[in-house]
């Protein structure tokens, strides 16, 4: 795992080598704060619940934009050949890229710190819910990242990677939604409602941290990182 760190550092700094990271961060912070604050004063409640319920939808566009270039660009430019002939295992490369995007995700979430600060000054929010909400965001974000990263490894076109990732994450997210559960045979209902990314997020962001939800997210992340390694191996 020694080479994971240099790859992670390289990937992370390459977000900032191009001004694209600042564009992403500005759009993410601007959009999430604006959508949240728009309703905040109307509801007149010192809670971040509506903020956290927005995040999976904003991530739906934001995260594929972070992951789309991670593999697709290497394949397009040809640096894939360079990376794959350096003494780096496929697992190290996948993990390095995943961690780089994960750190970027954590940074962008951390930059929303003004919102909880403001809410605590204006009122008396439930701290457990805020902590749970952020944890939920990190977990669902990481799951999105692993899906987006995997899809990026399947194409050399970043736009294709972006669109396919959005669709795939969307489908995965609404698997457990009520209107989907109505339309499927009864015996599939528990499977779908467990498989959907959304339901687990709702319970964590209410402040209920259940080990099943944690295990669920870790399994999704693990599964897609594993598929990613396999996809890279298959290219050889």
């Amino acid at each position: 795992m020694r080479n994971t760190v240099p790859i992670m550092k390289r990937e992370f700094s390459s977000y900032f080598n191009a001004p694209i990271a600042f564009v992403y961060l500005t759009v993410f912070l601007g959009l999430s704060s604006w959508l949240y604050l728009k309703g905040f004063f109307l509801v007149n409640e010192a809670s971040m619940r509506s903020f956290f319920s927005l995040i999976p939808w904003i991530f739906l566009l934001f995260i594929p934009a972070i992951t789309m270039r991670l593999w697709a660009e290497e394949r397009k430019v040809g640096t894939m050949e360079l990376l794959m002939t350096l003494p780096v295992t496929d697992t190290e490369a996948v993990l390095g890229k995943f961690l780089a995007s994960f750190v970027f995700l954590v940074v962008s979430l951390a930059l929303t710190f003004l919102l909880p600060l403001m809410v605590s000054i204006l009122g008396d929010p439930d701290p457990g819910q805020i902590v749970g909400g952020y944890l939920g965001c990190v977990l669902i974000g990481a799951a999105y990242l692993s899906i987006g990263l995997f899809i990026s490894s399947l194409t050399e076109n970043q736009i294709v990677a972006f669109i396919v990732s959005v669709v795939a994450i969307f489908v995965f997210y609404i698997l457990g939604a009520d209107f989907v559960l109505f339309g499927i045979p009864d015996w599939l209902v528990p499977v779908f409602s467990f498989a959907g990314l959304g339901g687990h997020f709702d319970s964590i962001s209410r402040g209920v941290i259940d080990s099943r939800d944690l295990i669920y997210y870790f399994s999704v992340i693990g599964l897609f990182l594993y598929l990613n390694v396999k996809a890279i191996e298959a290219r050889r």
Partner: protein, 334 residues
């Protein structure tokens, strides 16, 4: 150092490399020659573990490319075709990244990078973004990347493309220098490059080896012929010292004058044929003289011209190009 036994690689229905076997010894510089799509790059990619062979085995530095891929990759410096680089990085942080991955100890990294900047002539672009560099400098950065860990084996896919002539000479010198203690495989289209750098050559076509040997052996094997381009004016101005073959002939390219020259040239020892080219200008007629391999007839032709009082405007020797040797080898096969 490198031993390849019957490796093949198929992409869909096209066979890129078909059952190739060869060995490379320590200290050898092996050149891969062949047209585009011959399988050079695919072979190199298999040796560097980027692709895995469908059939056959290859060992590099004693390790199997499939079983011990990481050990192979540690010992090889590889410059892929067109030298792909991380364009958003600057030269030094790129080399530092490679040094990190190559496991060069931190305290040695700075010194290694400085040496690479020196050997590859990068000092003027040190702080620049790789994306802004010219093709030649990118190629040099790529070369620095392959050399930074002092590899036992170098595999270079068309290392001199995009370089200017003086850089090409530098890089060839560098490769020769490295090739003294190390093992090098390089691919190229350019025959002089092979002659300048390689101790042995493999010619590949359509995934199979069609010839191998030293450059001289190859040249001899195809019954190599050199060409001499000659441009002669026979009825030159007031040239009187009188060649018997021509006196009084028409000044401007008549048929009669041509045969005289052709006869005179064909009678020289070593000449296999003389062909008159259609175009003629300013009273000069052009001929292509084919001479058997090795014979240097430029001087003899010069003397003939003097003796006969002809004016000589051009006398140029051309050895067979890769394309010619290559065409010969492939047409002979079929």
């Amino acid at each position: 150092m490198i031993s390849v036994r019957g490796i093949s690689k198929t992409f869909g229905s096209t066979v890129a490399v078909d059952n190739i076997s060869f060995d490379v010894n320590k200290g050898e510089v092996l050149g891969f020659l062949g047209p585009n799509g011959a399988g050079k790059t695919t072979t190199m990619r298999m040796l560097t573990c980027y692709l895995s062979p469908d059939n056959g085995t290859a060992t590099v530095a004693g390790f199997d490319v499939f079983e011990d891929s990481l050990e192979v990759r540690k010992r090889v410096g590889y410059l892929p075709e067109s030298a792909p680089l991380y364009l958003d990085m600057d030269v030094v942080s790129y080399l530092r990244f490679i040094a990190d991955i190559r496991g060069i100890p931190r305290d040695l990294t700075g010194e290694r990078i400085r040496r690479m900047v020196d050997t590859c002539g990068l000092s003027s672009v040190v702080g620049r973004n790789i994306g802004e560099l010219s093709k030649g400098y990118k190629q040099r950065v790529g070369l620095a990347q392959t050399l930074i860990h002092d590899p036992e084996i170098l595999i270079l896919d068309e290392p001199t493309t995009g370089l200017d002539p003086s850089q090409i000479i530098e890089i060839r010198e560098l490769i020769k220098e490295i090739g003294r203690e190390r093992t090098v495989i390089l691919s190229t289209h350019i025959l002089p490059e092979v002659e300048a750098t390689c101790s042995r050559v493999l010619i590949i076509n359509e995934g199979v080896i069609v010839a191998s040997g030293t450059p001289e052996e190859l040249h001899a094997a195809v019954g190599g012929e050199d060409l001499i381009h000659v441009s002669i004016r026979t009825g030159g101005g007031g040239a009187e010292g009188g060649g018997p073959a021509k006196s009084g002939g028409p000044a401007e390219g008549g048929g009669a004058q041509g045969t005289g020259v052709e006869d005179a040239l064909s009678s020289l020892a070593g000449v296999t044929s003389v062909e008159r080219k259609a175009e003629a200008s300013g009273g000069y007629s052009k001929y292509i003289v084919k001479v058997s391999n090795g014979a240097d007839l430029a001087e003899a032709i010069f003397r003939v011209a003097i003796d006969r009082g002809w004016t000589l405007n051009e006398l140029k020797r051309e050895t067979l190009s890769l394309e010619d040797i290559f065409l010969k080898l492939t047409t002979r096969e079929t």
